[in-house]
């Protein structure tokens, strides 16, 4: 986690030292041992909690995924990779993967640019911009369950607010079955997700925008750059670290999407809005096939892990340089 307590490398190997130095060295190693103990003592509570509540359950899920297991007692019916074979032959799970991709693509192509646009807009001198910022951020504060119930009512066919509003402005034809129609459920879901999460990304961008030095934009202005050029060549590159974090959070969020879907559609109609987490819940807590559900969770974990590592390695590297402690450059 951190190398602050790693043994001090400055002390070289003690070869042929005079007695006094040897004594001093012994004293140092005693101190070093005490440092270690202190370090371990401080870390122990956190470490125990981390191992008991995070690491062990993760390893256990990995283990349970190899069994046909009902979720009670210890798993005993070993089936090897069968759960995974079954998983990748299951149309619902393959559909989950596809829907996950769709959500990620839509988020990156529509939701984040929209959030960026709003952030740039609300970064201007605008009457009442604090109010707008608060309003747009408010949905993010709302719990997913409440959002789900709310939009379940808004998009109720015929009776819901959405259909009433469309009817009032003479657009009845646009009103549909929203969440109840397999062909429109994902689009409606994405609409709600955007409503819920764009404010969060907008806030991130706003924070980023406000930390940009005004001199650079001014300099560009003096050089005769127009608004688009200033945005494209000055603001955007400087905002890149924020954008990269925002993309990361958005992708991980899409992969793990559960609560909104569960409350609004439970993955329906006919699995057309099901996500990996919903599938896992269905098998783990409805069908009591915890082994299979563990396999789903392992695959989800794998996807998140691979994505997180790859993203850090290739995309976030520049942002993270120096921010985390690495062994590189140590001892010099």
């Amino acid at each position: 986690m951190t190398s602050a307590f790693l043994p001090d490398k400055r002390s070289g190997p003690a070869v042929g030292l005079p007695p006094a130095a040897e004594r001093a060295d012994r004293g140092r190693s005693r101190r070093r041992a005490r440092d270690w103990l202190t370090a371990v003592g401080f870390q122990l509570p956190a470490l125990v909690l981390f191992i008991a509540l995070v690491l062990l359950p993760m390893l256990f899920a990995l283990y349970a995924a190899l069994f046909r297991w009902g979720g009670f007692g210890m798993p005993s019916d070993y089936v090897g990779g069968d759960n995974f074979t079954r998983l990748f032959q299951d149309d619902v799970f393959l559909g989950d993967l596809w829907r996950c991709l769709v959500l990620v693509a839509l988020s990156l192509a529509l939701q984040l640019p929209f959030a960026l646009g709003m952030a740039v807009l609300l970064n201007q001198r605008l009457r009442g911009r604090a109010v707008y910022r608060m309003l747009f951020f408010a949905p993010y504060v709302l719990s997913e369950a409440i959002t789900g119930v709310l939009f379940g009512m808004v998009f109720a066919p015929d009776d819901g607010l959405a259909d009433h509003v469309l009817g009032a402005v003479g657009l009845d034809g646009l009103g549909g079955e929203w969440f109840a129609d397999p062909s429109s459920v994902m689009a409606t879901l994405f609409l709600v997700m955007t409503w819920k999460y764009f404010g969060f990304h907008m806030m991130l961008y706003l924070a980023g925008l406000q930390s940009l030095p005004a001199e650079l934009t001014e300099a560009a202005l003096i050089d005769g750059a127009n608004a688009w050029q200033r945005f494209r060549n000055v603001t955007l590159p400087l905002l890149a670290p924020t954008l990269r974090i925002s993309v990361f959070l958005s992708v991980i969020g899409s992969i793990q999407l559960f609560d909104l879907v569960w409350v609004i559609t439970q993955g329906g109609p006919d699995h057309h809005s099901e996500t990996m987490a919903v599938t896992m819940f269905q098998f783990g807590f409805r069908r009591y096939q915890a082994g299979y559900a563990s396999a789903v969770s392992v695959v989800m974990f794998g996807i998140c892990l691979v994505f997180a590592l790859a993203y850090q390695r290739f995309v976030l590297r520049r942002d993270l340089e120096g921010a985390t402690t690495t062994m590189r450059g140590n001892g010099k």
């Binding site: 062990l56 079955e177 109840a180 109609p269 269905q282 069908r287």
Partner: protein, 430 residues
């Protein structure tokens, strides 16, 4: 930056492992009906956590204690889902409470097979013979009684008399073709024939289950579960008949996304007079009035129609209720309590105050609600019984039935595929 991903994943994994922990903790907590200084303490586990039942049941326990000074009853109440998981853990640990709630069917059979449940056939026969036969069905395994009912109910069609009249339907249909005819008539009179909660899946399963009972016969669903084979002609036919109905587009707009008891759900749609029928249990009138306006005297009940040429009969019912079973070796006082709980006096109080249907035939005189009376009449005349599939089958199979039938209704699975999917789940579940 990998941390958010790790901890979220870890949390989900932890919840899976949490199940294991529940199982382990369950091993420690056995119930010890110990007797000290001549008093016997009986533990009574039930799921009556809501009022007024909670108070009424506690009062009955005190009354029994007053009549039997040497017996103490310790009531343990758990909410439905918590009870189910706790009982699974206790079953694994090998010791059950003295008296415990049961729905009968597959779960009770598991407990019986593990040797944990007292055979009540001889000990209760003298007085249990008088109880409503259909109410005792869920607890009968291989001809032996393992539980005593306190409630029973069934699924049937609840219909709007006014809308039926408007469509010119004189009497409720008794055959499937008559039913389809009625649906067509309702549609052409501008009424939505049926309300269905497509999001929740279990209400749709009722159609398939009843159709399977009517085509393949009442024993077929149980036999198919035992032989893990749902591909018989009767089951495929059940799917075909359901498809006939779905083809008529009888359900309300947006039914695939509708819930059951919400203000825009199935019950409210019927309760507000916006659909003519729903296939639902004896609790339907209450939920219709709760989620919607309710139909009052305008609401009628008729049993699921017969399918022409099928094995099943109009008088065979699909339903379930609640009962009590005893752990094997439970003290005699526990049997006495079951007897006390099934007396006419107790049952009258239960029917009057807690809204259950009577299991003691003589207690039905306190039943005043015409709808419940109609259900009671059906139950009394029942010649066959099938327990709710989610109680009769292993959870994985029950869920697959719900899921496949929902797919059939949504148009993405054929009747043959439904039969195959359920068979697949049954084979996998063991």
């Amino acid at each position: 930056m990998g941390d958010p991903a790790l901890s979220r994943r870890g949390f989900l994994a932890a919840s899976v492992a949490g199940l294991g922990a529940t199982a382990l903790s369950g091993c420690g907590g056995g119930s010890d009906g110990g007797s000290s200084s001549g008093t016997t303490t009986i533990e009574w586990w039930n799921i009556s956590t809501t009022e007024p039942t909670r108070t009424v049941w506690a009062g009955l326990a005190r009354k029994f204690e007053a009549q039997n000074p040497k017996v103490k009853i310790k009531i343990v109440q758990l909410e439905n889902d918590a009870y189910k998981s706790k009982m699974t853990a206790l079953t694994a640990s090998g010791k059950l409470p003295d008296i415990f709630h049961t729905w009968g069917g597959g779960v009770l059979k598991q407990q019986v097979d593990a040797g944990l449940v007292e055979d009540l056939t001889d000990g209760t026969g003298s007085w249990a013979d008088g109880l409503l036969p259909v109410a005792k069905e869920p607890y009968l395994l291989d001809g032996k009684a393992y539980g005593i009912p306190f409630d029973i109910g069934m699924i049937g069609f609840w219909y709007n008399r006014t809308l039926f009249g408007k469509a010119g339907i004189g009497a409720p249909p008794t055959t499937w073709s008559g039913f389809l005819e009625a649906v067509t008539r309702l549609k052409s009179s501008g009424v939505t024939p049926l309300a269905l909660a497509g999001k929740e899946k279990w209400p749709g399963m009722y159609y398939w289950a009843y159709l399977a009972m009517r085509t393949a016969g009442v024993g077929a669903l149980r036999k198919a579960a035992d032989s893990k084979d749902f591909t018989g002609a009767g089951f495929v036919d059940a799917g075909r008949h359901l498809k006939e109905l779905v083809t008529l587009q009888p359900f309300q707009k947006g039914f695939l996304g509708a819930a059951y008891s919400t203000p825009t759900g199935q019950a409210a749609t019927v309760g507000n007079g916006r659909a003519a029928m729903e296939l639902m249990g004896q609790w339907a009138p209450v939920v219709e009035a709760d989620a919607g306006k309710g139909l009052g005297a305008n609401l009628g009940f008729f049993p699921f129609p017969e399918v022409e040429g099928g094995e099943g009969k109009l008088t065979e019912v699909f339903g379930g209720g609640g009962g009590h079973a005893l752990r094997s070796g439970a003290p005699q006082a526990a049997v006495d309590f079951l007897k006390f709980f099934a007396t006419e006096t107790t049952d009258r109080e239960l029917v009057r105050k807690t809204g259950v249907l009577p299991v003691v035939p003589a207690a039905e005189s306190v039943l005043t609600d015409p709808n419940l009376k109609a259900v009671q009449t059906q139950l009394k005349a029942a010649t066959g019984f099938q327990l709710y599939l989610d109680q009769a089958y292993a959870p994985a199979v029950g869920q697959e039935v719900n899921d496949s039938v929902a797919a059939l209704i949504a148009g993405s699975k054929s009747p043959e595929q439904v039969a195959q999917s359920i068979t697949g789940a049954a084979e996998e579940a063991q």
